[in-house]
Assembly symmetry: D2
Homo-oligomer: 257 residues x 4
């Protein structure tokens, strides 16, 4: 019906394979499946790419988006392990990567009054398929309270504290639940964040943070210890950043293992 | 049970009322109601605030978040008209503002092949309650293609074009559907965007844009004409920005009426 | 020499004047002149626009950038008061706006050891020329420490604190120095930020913040009081936002006068 | 004089070394030295970090900032090769990384009228010192025009084009000039960007882009060819992203060698 030139399929003589080519920043609504009871709706961003051999000029970008829109409506550990191979097949590629970045929510009870509230986190699920094998990765970005041990030790009253952001990426088989990763991070900080706190709760978290001071160094080490003890984790990367309340820059620390 | 000091309720002697005080950046999942058939899930950000009279020291921040979490799960033109008064009552305030910023999706068919695909937009719904009256506002941010009339007229072949972003805010009674506002914007541009285009579609939108060149000035005027002709619109503001393909800065234009 | 069609100068029959049309996001290096001794180099972003009457199709965008590049290399209160009229003349416009957003630095001594360090702030200078008159505005965005009075009052030890950001905009004749505005903001907060603090300094600012707890409401009121007492200020707007260390959202307050 | 506990220097028993710990996002003004004639002022962001052995609890953050403020006022290929070792010495560390991200400007003449104008780019200089050796890296981020070969081939008139962003990172000895890297990128695109273009120039770049269509795949391959032919380059990474004028997402490609 239409006989339009297929410029992308032209041969290429520059002899340079392209490691990754595809689309990025595609907004995508889906149901996140995080364990048996953890289904929830979210809106994220997708990135899909393939390896392009040296002798082909271009990939077919519209197939990535068509793939997303024709079925990627429930996403979790199992689908992220399956999708890259499907994308590779669809594009005729030897290697493919699929990644979703998205917010998600956990419901928590305030520590004293028990008032329940939803807290938001950011996460990513990534799958990479190459030579018949898939590697999957889960990432969570968790805001926490950090209270400075030095400030506490040297001051007669008070101690500077602030919001910190911890990013944990794990490559594992099977992938752990995102909620589980969040719990690990929150346990390693001075205190966790809540969305609704009444006065008795605010008193509690203030004192809890004061009683559990951590440097960014402590935070990443506490977490690394936990991850090293977790079965099934092949690789991890922990990064903590403090938006210092006494400086206009951040302190950060990274541990990989 | 707990007898903790209520610092916020202390009297204040500085004699300065605060126009707006509240919370901002609260991530919020909800069902967007955009007309009878337009229900869809999304995740946005909420901002809620009240007027604080001169003689009170502080507002009660946790009530805003509790309000959000206890019922704001379906949001549309009618709820945005109702919420600010509810917030004012809850906080004992004379004036309140509620605002949600969020992405939403429309399904479109490609212009030639008819392949269907989801396109994402950003929108806001705002309600402001004061002296017993509510004013509601709807905002859409719509990406479009703009092709430069000058470049087309002076060049022997081609014409520079680019992605532009159009922001339309309307205060109206009743509020128009977000989808309707998006359609108005897309009709005023050189071409609209799609998520999936096959080659015949790409040929079509390329030629369509070439046949409908618009400056940012044309875009805002085309839209202003349409909005002036729309019944029920009390005020509007149209802003267009072109991410110029030949410059590293943007061209922009604003019309208010 | 070149006889190319001037599409922008075509007449327009839609009968819609455009309040503002121009360029935005133009990166611009310049010497900031902030009072007699306050010269320093910076790199900011410029936005320039004019009013376009109903009967002309488009403005000439390249003249804005040419204006910037041919002389706007020293910018301060006096130039921001002069530039909009120059832009209007160059574009043949009745009304013009010029705005620069940029970072700047102040050198401070740590409160105990006296170690000197540079702290960065963001600011804007804006000039608007209409009907032969210029209105000028200066804006500073100042990071500070805020310590929660409620948390302090109800807790047996510690008090949550965090980085806050205060934005002050003033319309005045003459414009105050940016450094002076920063000092006002810092004096209204629990403590100011530094870039280099040794342990004795850290002890000092920790205790200082504990001794000066402020809600966002207190912060904006303290500042409004100072601004009301400052001669020459016609209008001001103060906005404070706290990146709460115990929540994943911000508290904010706005006062205008 | 002050005898305050040094909490950071406490021993640590968790047995986990930290790969990188330091400060990030420190705004820093400096003179960029890019070759013999390429000195210019800029304001960037610095990140400095060290390796922390398993048996020490924390690093001394204030020393990083003190280092920056006491001498890092001229930065270029030679200083970026020297600084990490200096930081390591100052912190008593075995390994250190120093990185600056900043905008810089190049003056260009418009292609036909020769009107001169400043164009802005972003760049990074990174140095990593480990086991007595420094590896240095230069990165440029260059906005370009890309015109779609497929759209051009299938359409009777016009062709969609847009702003693209190319990021090139090279590890080399000695580092190439940033200006030279920018020129390589611009030569590989459909057309380069300018800040001031008169009508004859606009005609020229419009037709030039039409005559030089490139996919993101072409762009990264063109660049990879040039980099492979450049002496002294040990490793490179090229990434191109198109902000598609017909879609609301980006196309991207990455080649490493």
């Amino acid at each position: 019906m239409w006989d339009l030139e297929d410029t992308q399929s032209e041969p290429d003589v520059r002899n340079i394979p392209i490691q990754r080519v595809g689309v990025r920043g595609v907004r995508h609504p889906f149901r996140l499946v995080d364990g048996e009871e953890g289904e929830q709706f979210t809106v994220g961003r997708a990135s899909l790419s393939v390896y392009l051999p040296a002798n082909v000029r271009g990939t077919h970008m519209s197939r990535f988006v068509a793939f997303l829109q024709s079925g990627a409506d429930r996403i979790g550990s199992s689908s992220i392990g399956r999708m890259p191979a499907e994308v590779a097949t669809l594009l005729g590629a030897e290697e493919a990567t699929v990644e979703f970045d998205f917010p998600f929510f956990m419901v928590k009870n305030a520590p004293v009054t028990g008032v329940s509230g939803r807290v938001d986190y950011e996460a990513s699920l990534r799958g990479h398929w190459v030579r018949g094998e898939t590697r999957s990765e889960a990432v969570v970005r968790v805001p926490v309270t950090t209270l400075c041990p030095c400030s506490r030790n040297i001051s007669e009253r008070g101690a500077h504290n602030q919001r910190g952001l911890v990013c944990v990426a794990v490559e594992a088989e099977p992938l752990p639940r995102l909620e589980g990763l969040v719990r690990l991070v929150e346990a390693a900080a001075s205190a966790e964040l809540y969305s609704v706190l009444k006065r008795p709760d605010e008193k509690h978290v203030t004192e809890q943070a004061y009683d559990n001071p951590v440097f960014v160094e402590d935070l990443v080490r506490n977490l690394a210890q936990e991850l090293q003890a977790s079965p099934g984790i092949r690789r991890y990367r922990v990064e903590a950043e403090n938006f210092e309340s006494i400086h206009n820059h951040s302190a950060f620390a990274v541990v990989e293992g």
